[in-house]
């Protein structure tokens, strides 16, 4: 395809069409709501912790393909990580998006967002869910 597939990679389109961990938890320790004020994207994130680990997490929200796919990928990669690992993962992801830095660690599916730093107007879309997580575990 064309240059748009840079932005809307297969994996992103897949997560957008079938978001993972979409919905509400019956039981959660922390809930964070966040909006991207310039474009109106919204996310609500619920987390259940156990032994300093992210035992489960789910999200609901409204937004573009990038922000929804990014939230979906985030929940997928974060499940089961320790809070410390999650923080580190977040930092790596945000540096990749904002500065185009190649991540030191394996970001798994989150790597498909590495092109976003070339689209400055979409950075906020790709990072919304991750900022919500950061706030939840800070």
């Amino acid at each position: 395809m064309d240059e748009l597939s840079d932005l809307y990679a297969e994996v992103i389109m897949d997560h957008q069409r079938h978001p993972r961990n979409f919905g509400k938890l019956e039981n959660f320790d922390r809930e964070i709501q966040m909006t991207n004020s310039s474009c109106g994207d919204q996310i609500s994130l619920q987390i259940k912790f156990e032994n300093e680990k992210i035992k489960d997490l789910k999200f609901t929200g409204m937004g573009c393909a990038i922000s929804m796919a990014s939230a979906s990928v985030m929940t997928e990669v974060m499940k089961g990580l320790s809070v410390k690992e999650a923080k580190h993962f977040c930092d790596e992801f945000l540096e990749m998006i904002r500065e185009g830095k190649v991540p030191a660690d394996d970001l798994k599916d989150a790597k498909v967002f590495s092109n976003i730093h070339k689209y400055p107007m979409r950075i906020k879309c790709a990072t919304l869910a991750w900022h919500a997580l950061q706030k939840a575990i800070e």
């Binding site: 748009l4 310039s38 474009c39 109106g40 409204m62 937004g63 573009c64 393909a65 990038i66 979409r122």
Partner: protein, 402 residues
């Protein structure tokens, strides 16, 4: 006409030709305006009024002439034209400068649900400061003002009614003449947001009988950072100076300050002369085309786009169908595609539209618009039918991809 606008021949890095359909956000500038600005800085620039030398004289004369040009354009008197940094500042100037000294706890302020945040939040905040009633007039299903509800909501306690002559969300032309009559019968003042209407149709402040009217230069071919507040002569008595400082004073003593006459008293600090003369140059360009013709042109493009899009599968069009209620704004959504993604696909086709809440969350919430966001294509003088064709093709591309 496109050749008067250098930016319109832009080719995107992917080879696509730019089709600029984001005119309700800001317009492009003709060469004449760009060159007027350069000329100002190359041969006239000085501070205004207070510097009595050759350049200071040039600048002062140009600035005063710009004020005259604006006054003529909206059929106002010179003293009624205050230069500001834009519509948002103009409206805040009324809210603080007229609202604060004249509104009290028992009063009411009325706005329409379809107002832009810049014509909504300042009034809401004023009402909060004054602890007075803030009424938001409901809309009909097509986004037009529910006039029955409006007439029910206005009372003898109403002090201020704020209303856009044209909305930026759907491009609806509101019946301000009718609203004005009701407002004045009830002893309130009418504050008109002209940010969208002044660039797109003839404006006559005396005809519409607005007490205040605000608009921005950048939405009508002028530079950024300049706007206008028209204040009816009768209002100048009760409009308190809002920003204070150099240029708006008469005499400064330790204990007190006396202020200069209008319009100077409302223009604190070094004015944006570049902006004012740039706006005057834009007005010259618009006058040559004629504001009636501009409205007609926008409407013909709207009708063309509407007729093409109304039968397109998955496309929802917002706003009334009656052409006399509209100007050149087409607001739409595509089922299953978030407007940001629509904008991204259109952009990859060279087409610049806007997506999001358009600083108009209340109307989107009230009408329960999908995603609380829409795509919006807005036309201006330099657009033509081929731009609409390109838009429609790109919408098909978006549908294919999502």
């Amino acid at each position: 006409m496109k050749k008067d606008f250098p930016i319109l021949s832009t080719v995107l890095p992917n080879g696509k030709k730019l089709v600029y359909l984001d005119n309700a956000a800001t317009t492009q500038k003709p060469l004449s305006v760009i060159e007027r600005i350069s000329h100002f800085y190359k041969s006239e620039n000085a501070n205004v009024s207070r510097s009595a030398h050759y350049l200071g004289e040039q600048t002062t004369v140009s600035y005063n002439n710009a004020r005259k040009a604006v006054a003529k354009f909206i059929n106002a008197d010179e003293d009624e034209v205050i230069f500001t940094s834009g519509t948002t500042e103009s409206i805040n100037m009324i809210a603080y400068g007229w609202g604060d000294p004249n509104v009290s706890e028992d009063d009411e302020i009325i706005v329409m649900t379809s107002e832009h945040h810049s014509d909504f939040v300042p009034w809401q905040q004023l009402a909060m400061r004054k602890k007075c009633k803030f009424k938001v007039v409901p809309l009909n299903i097509d986004g037009t003002i529910n006039m029955v509800e409006f007439k029910k909501s206005i009372t003898s306690k109403t002090k201020i009614v704020a209303c856009a002559r044209m909305t930026n969300s759907f491009g609806i032309i509101n019946p301000v003449e009718e609203i004005s009559k009701t407002v004045h019968e009830n002893g309130a003042i009418l504050v008109v947001d002209g940010a969208q209407s002044v660039p797109s149709m003839p404006t006559d402040v005396k005809n519409m009988d607005a007490d205040f009217l605000s608009f921005s230069g950048h939405k009508m071919l002028g530079p950024m950072g300049i706007g206008v507040l028209y204040a009816k002569k009768d209002m100048l008595e009760s409009l308190k100076p809002f920003l204070t400082g150099g240029g708006m004073i008469d005499e400064v003593k330790d204990e007190s300050t006396t202020f200069a006459c209008a319009p100077d008293r409302y223009e604190a600090g070094t004015p944006n002369v570049e902006g004012a003369i740039g706006l005057a140059s834009a007005i010259e360009y618009l006058d040559e085309i004629g504001m009636e013709n501009i409205l007609e042109h926008e409407r013909s493009l709207f009708e063309y786009a509407y007729s093409k899009l109304k039968s397109v599968d998955r496309v929802t069009l917002y706003g009334p169908k009656e052409i006399e209620k509209r100007a050149g704004i087409v607001t739409f959504n595509i089922k299953g595609i978030h407007p940001h993604d629509v904008a991204a696909v259109l952009d990859s086709n060279g087409i610049a539209i806007r997506s999001g809440h358009h600083c108009a969350q209340p109307i989107l919430r009230a009408l329960k618009v999908d995603f609380m966001a829409t795509a919006r294509a807005s036309f201006y003088i330099y657009n033509d039918k081929s731009d609409v064709d390109a838009l429609v093709d790109a919408i098909e591309d978006a549908k294919r991809r999502f």
